[in-house]
């Protein structure tokens, strides 16, 4: 879905979210309206300033009259919509999604460079995940330390594609892509060559800053030291749009 472009003749719609009557511009998505009104919606792939991906499914909400759940980050508001963001069913699904993410790859928070500054970890706490009911897969994934400034640890990657999008849409380098399917799916640099040998990477570090987990980090960081800064993103995104 393309990013909504500001228009002069946008109409305003009214809708109900969690029993509150709200109005919104018709070109807004549900997650944008919820954020404006401090209605918390968990999300991992969505990031202000990047295109919509709709992959993590954590932002699922219920819409009255629709049996299936929809992703709040990729659903536009509509007149008369009635939305629930925090039902028992949604909490159950969100918890399960987070547990699946922990069970799939290898997260050892206590020794992770992102411990204490990780969106996945915070989300697990928010969703009440105090243990993972599924058995851990226990399959090791590679670590790419070939880049002189940054490191990629596939064990911590949740395939949110924020790195792919920021590199393509904001930096304009398009170093990242996604390769493979199912449990073999992983992010790659250039044509699956080591990151350190990339001809396209400008070493801007944007992918590292937007990565929600300890998958993309600065070289030389040890447990709990990797703190990310995403303030640059909305500013750069606005400037890009203005051009």
């Amino acid at each position: 879905m393309p990013r909504p472009t500001p228009q002069s003749t946008v109409r305003v719609v009214t809708l109900r979210i969690d029993d509150r009557d709200l109005s919104a511009r018709e070109d807004e998505t549900l997650i944008e309206v919820c954020r404006e009104h401090q209605i918390p919606i968990p999300s991992l792939c969505q990031l202000d300033g990047l295109s919509v991906w709709g992959g993590c499914r954590l932002c699922m909400v219920e819409i009255a009259g629709q049996g299936r759940l929809v992703a709040a980050c990729s659903t536009r508001v509509a007149e008369g919509m009635v939305v629930q963001t925090d039902t028992e069913r949604l909490r159950h699904y969100r918890r399960t999604i987070v547990e699946l993410l922990f069970a799939e790859r290898n997260h050892v928070c206590a020794v992770c460079v992102s411990n204490g500054h990780c969106e996945l970890q915070t989300l697990a706490q928010r969703c009440g995940v105090d243990h993972v009911r599924l058995p851990y897969r226990q399959v090791p994934y590679p670590v790419d330390s070939s880049h002189e400034m940054f490191r990629l640890d596939h064990n911590r990657c949740i395939l949110c594609t924020r790195c792919v999008r920021v590199c393509d849409e904001i930096e304009g380098a398009h170093t990242w892509d996604i390769m493979g399917r199912g449990s073999d799916c992983r992010v790659i640099t250039d044509l699956a060559r080591p990151w350190g040998e990339s001809d396209t990477c400008t070493r801007c570090g944007k992918c590292v800053q937007v990565c929600p987990t300890g998958a993309l980090v600065k070289q030389g960081t040890s447990a709990g030291e990797m703190v990310k800064d995403q303030h640059f993103l909305p500013i750069l995104a606005r400037r890009r749009q203005a051009r």
């Binding site: 050892v108 411990n115 697990a124 105090d130």
Partner: protein
Amino acid sequence: MSTPAPKLTVATAWLDGCSGCHMSFLDLDERLMTLVEQVEIVYSPLVDAKTLPAQVDVGILEGSISSEDDLEKARLFRERCAVLISLGDCAVTGNVPAMRNHFKLSEVLDRAYRENVTLQPQIPTRAVPALLTPVKPVHGVVAVDVFIPGCPPSAETIWSILSDVIAGRVPDVSAVTRFGA
């Protein structure tokens, strides 16, 4: 003289962990005095008793299931404890001990007992429990009622959750701790 209300019985054991969670428990400091007014610690590395009583109210396990001995203790605790608590990330997720799951057991043993040893390198076989693969969290082998993540969970966290369990309340664990806390 009125007879005091019977105290809750508590047992703890240290499986494959670093003992940090038990140390954190000791960090309760003066609150330990308040605690022993309400509970009796009937079996633990912290007391002298050598056998687990047939019936215990609250069992607390630190560490993951990495050996036959860990497995046996976890089963015994489950059998005899009304409420079973996993204390710390090793018990809750497998944590650091489970990192060996990515290697063959023979490689791990070689690394620990041969490659890094200069004097009489040998792999111990007598009087030590056999190691299991894969290393699992406690709830991977027995049902667990309360999970306290953290490496180690702070004394505040242990105090808050234990107080709830003693009072018969369902603790809101995620309000006070998380993985890696």
